[in-house]
């Protein structure tokens, strides 16, 4: 069976990509490893989703179901409960190996593939927490699943490392369901979560937030018994004498997300060390022609609304690729992060493409009340954009018109912060 487009992952990104890629006559397949579509949104039962895209505040499951309803009458194939295990490419054709309990292991062919496989949570091993390794330490998202889908609390006395939104949301959820949440520690001097979540998840329940703190010891031979946190200096080195101990049975980690793209390893696409996702051009096409990437498997987003917007574009371009046979660029120019910018995406631009301009997604490396994004081409400053309330936790979007370009040299985006 040869499909025009195969989309891997039926969460927010895959659903949006599918919606925009769909056209009468195109053969499209959506593959989802779980029994139902919707992805991680299904367990994010809190509200605050959809403000940009649907102009109203939705919970995660509601946002997911809107995406599902938008595609349910389309004439496409959907394989749920099916896991892709490998992807290879010969000439212009992809072969996807997958398995399920109906057909066992089987292959399908595709002209274009969209990866919308989401991300996974960084674990204890990857951040190398000191101390013993008892039971009771897990990523916050795992605890969220046990609580919201299965109806189980993973602990009664909880501490949370990392103040990203998922950590804050879980602090409130665990508290509401009867657990004692003793505190949240954050390595940085500021929280990575939204102010609203600091207020409504922590302040409302008198849960302390320890900024500039990290875990310096873990005790417990079998079950977690105690954690120690210490204040850190500007270089993130723990300061002796600042230790605080908490007797807890559970430590939830909210210490970052990583694009889940290992299944694409055999395609040898170029991967960004900054985003840990694929390097893409303005068509969301990876270095492997015909392979498109979007959503959290491309880079970890702050808001699902932006996942939807980005994935709709990726779907659109995948369709264009299939119809035109190629989007292949003659020459790609790099777009690089400059001062105070962690990454810029897309990382490559075909300057000759017939487009009016491009929107770049980027993240700053520090908080700033006010600042100016400066876009350089070579040494020439070609554009400036003022911004307010810049935070590493929030994505920025900058549109650059093509007629501003002055050469074929690489682009660079920097952030200048006013003192």
């Amino acid at each position: 069976m040869t499909y025009d487009i195969v989309i891997i992952g039926g969460g927010a990104a895959g659903l949006a990509a599918l919606h925009s890629a769909y056209e009468d006559g195109l053969k499209i397949l959506l593959i989802e490893r779980e029994k139902t579509l919707g992805g991680i949104l299904k367990q994010c039962i809190h509200n605050g989703f959809g403000v940009h895209h649907y102009k109203e505040e939705l919970t995660g499951p509601e946002y997911a179901e809107r995406g599902i309803e938008a595609i349910q009458d389309l004439d496409i194939d959907v394989f749920t409960d099916t896991t892709v295990i490998d992807i290879s490419k010969k000439k212009k054709e992809f072969t996807l190996s997958m398995m399920n309990t109906v057909d066992g292991e089987f292959d399908v062919k595709a002209k274009a593939v969209i990866m919308s496989t989401g991300c996974y949570e960084r674990t204890r091993g990857q951040i190398q927490l000191p101390g013993e390794r008892p039971a009771g330490i897990m990523p916050a998202g795992s605890a969220q699943r046990y609580l919201n889908i299965d109806g189980y609390l993973v602990g009664k006395k909880v501490f949370i490392l990392g103040s990203g939104d998922i950590g804050l949301i879980m602090a409130r959820r665990m508290k509401l369901e009867g657990a004692d949440v003793l505190g949240v520690a954050e390595l940085m001097p500021y929280s990575n979560g939204l102010t609203r979540n600091i207020v409504q998840c922590l302040h409302d329940f008198d849960i302390p937030l320890y900024l500039s703190h990290t875990i310096t010891n873990i005790k417990g031979k079998k079950q977690l018994e105690q954690i120690t946190i210490s204040e850190v200096d500007e270089r993130f080195v723990p300061i002796a004498g600042t230790e605080k101990h908490f007797d807890v049975d559970t430590l939830l980690l909210s210490v970052g997300l990583v694009p889940d793209i290992k299944m694409f390893d055999s395609l040898n696409m170029d991967i960004s060390p900054l985003t840990k996702g694929a390097i893409v051009d303005q068509f969301f096409q990876t270095s492997v022609e015909g392979l498109f990437a979007c959503g959290n498997s491309l880079h970890v987003h702050d808001l699902v609304d932006f996942v939807t917007q980005e994935s709709e574009k990726a779907g659109e371009y995948a369709k264009q690729y299939v119809k035109e046979g190629s989007l292949r660029q003659k020459k790609l120019t790099s777009v690089m992060p400059g001062d105070r910018v962690r990454y810029v995406l897309p990382q490559k631009i075909d300057l000759t493409a017939d487009q009016e301009g491009w929107t770049f997604a980027l993240r700053a490396t520090e908080n700033a009340q006010r600042g100016t994004f400066k876009i350089y081409q070579g040494d020439a400053l070609i554009m400036e954009k003022k911004a307010r309330f810049i935070a590493p936790a929030e994505m920025e979007h900058i549109e650059v018109k093509k007629d501003l370009l002055v050469s074929n040299e690489p682009l660079k985006i920097s952030l200048e912060v006013l003192a």
């Binding site: 295990i85 309990t101 990857q126 190398q128 101390g131 039971a135 031979k221 079998k222 049975d249």
Partner: protein
Amino acid sequence: MYDYLVIGAGVTGANIARMLSKYELNVIVLDKESDIGNGATLANSAIVHSGHDPKEDTLKAKLCVRGNALYHELEKNLDVPLMHNGAYLLASDEESEAQLDTLFNRAKYNGVHAEFVPLEVAFKEEPNIAKDTTRVLSLPSTKITYPWEVALACMENAVSNGVTYKGNQTVNSIQKDGDIFTVTTEEGDVYETKHIINAAGVFVEKIAAMIEKDVPYKINPRRGEYYVLDRRTKGFVNRTIYPVPSVRGKGVLLVPQIHGNILVGPNAIEQDSLDDYSNTPDGLRWVRNEASRIVQNIPFDQIIRTFTGIRPSIYQYDFYIEESLEVDNFFHVAGIDSPGLTAAPAIAEYVEEILKGKMRLVKKESYDPKRRKLVLYNEMTKRQQQKAFDEDKRYGNLICKCEKITEADVVKSIHSPIPATSVKAIKKRARAGAGLCQGGYCEHQVLKLLARELEKPLTQVDYYHPSTPLVKTETKVKP
């Protein structure tokens, strides 16, 4: 009444149990942990050493060289995984080159094949070794195994030949009345036996002190910390890469693993605690720096976890394998630190000789030395996979996508001869959760399969040890 009671189901105790199962004897193995091989067996470098390193004329030298050879029998009869990939020992200055000569001579004396390889060959074979390497000694008989599976294979084979195994049994007293030992455990069980073999690893002295006034050795636990790199790094080094040993120990190694990961470690820090498996930032930093001296550009961005092992060292250099001087029929198997994993089958043979000197051992006619491992879906050929799926649709349900583990693999591990009854026990047998995401996605599925197969509520399925459930209470239920 048992003829033999073995304390400790690590790789040593398991090999001894298998040896005893050859004979017409009533044998039981007790272990304080919820699963076998949870001490030094679980956390070490996984190397089947050649025998170049132990001092001349020691038990360590003799049993290491013999054990290395016996691993071929384990591979053949027990399906123990063995990677015949050899090792390189690196020198980078005059002093370490001199040590390399010493080791070369020691290897020759110990009967171990070793040869110097030209630098250009070494750099071609192992392009990532440090550029300042000046001399390389190759040890072709060095191998890699999966130590925990060695213990599992021996114990499964022992059990299928009639040995009894019981976990969660912490021995807390040993009495002897006439010829009979009475062994009591914290869990309240009582065992009577004619002989005791003490293979309790780091707890060996504690056990001995229950029955001996003067234990002839003192335990000196030494912590060793490691990094595990993701399977993506496979091929970064192909052999075990050793520095020359220094006063600081055998040094930090890079060791390719059976499952494709690379281990980096260990350090060697003496500690008092017998069960403090903490990782320390200082220890890990030291490991990182030391490793970077022998191999360049180690992909530390691919770390998936860190762990700590405790070596059951004693203050004497050599293994201590003797019958008690005070108590007849009580046998010490103590100080089994490196190369203990390699020596384990030879230690069992050595113990066998000691026993034969004391009593007549009658061969069991039904003894079968073979054990077939549970073949995981990802280890099957395409045709085997198809056949397995046709017979059992659960082979189509992928539980762990990082390691390609199916529902059938997990279920079969739960119902294996030494059953997996916890999430971590599944990880050791079927590798679910051992990959990049470390169980982030599959753990809840494994938990549910355990609950289903063991017919327990979710809140009673342990992460590993007794009373360590992953989920503690159900919500929305009124007390």
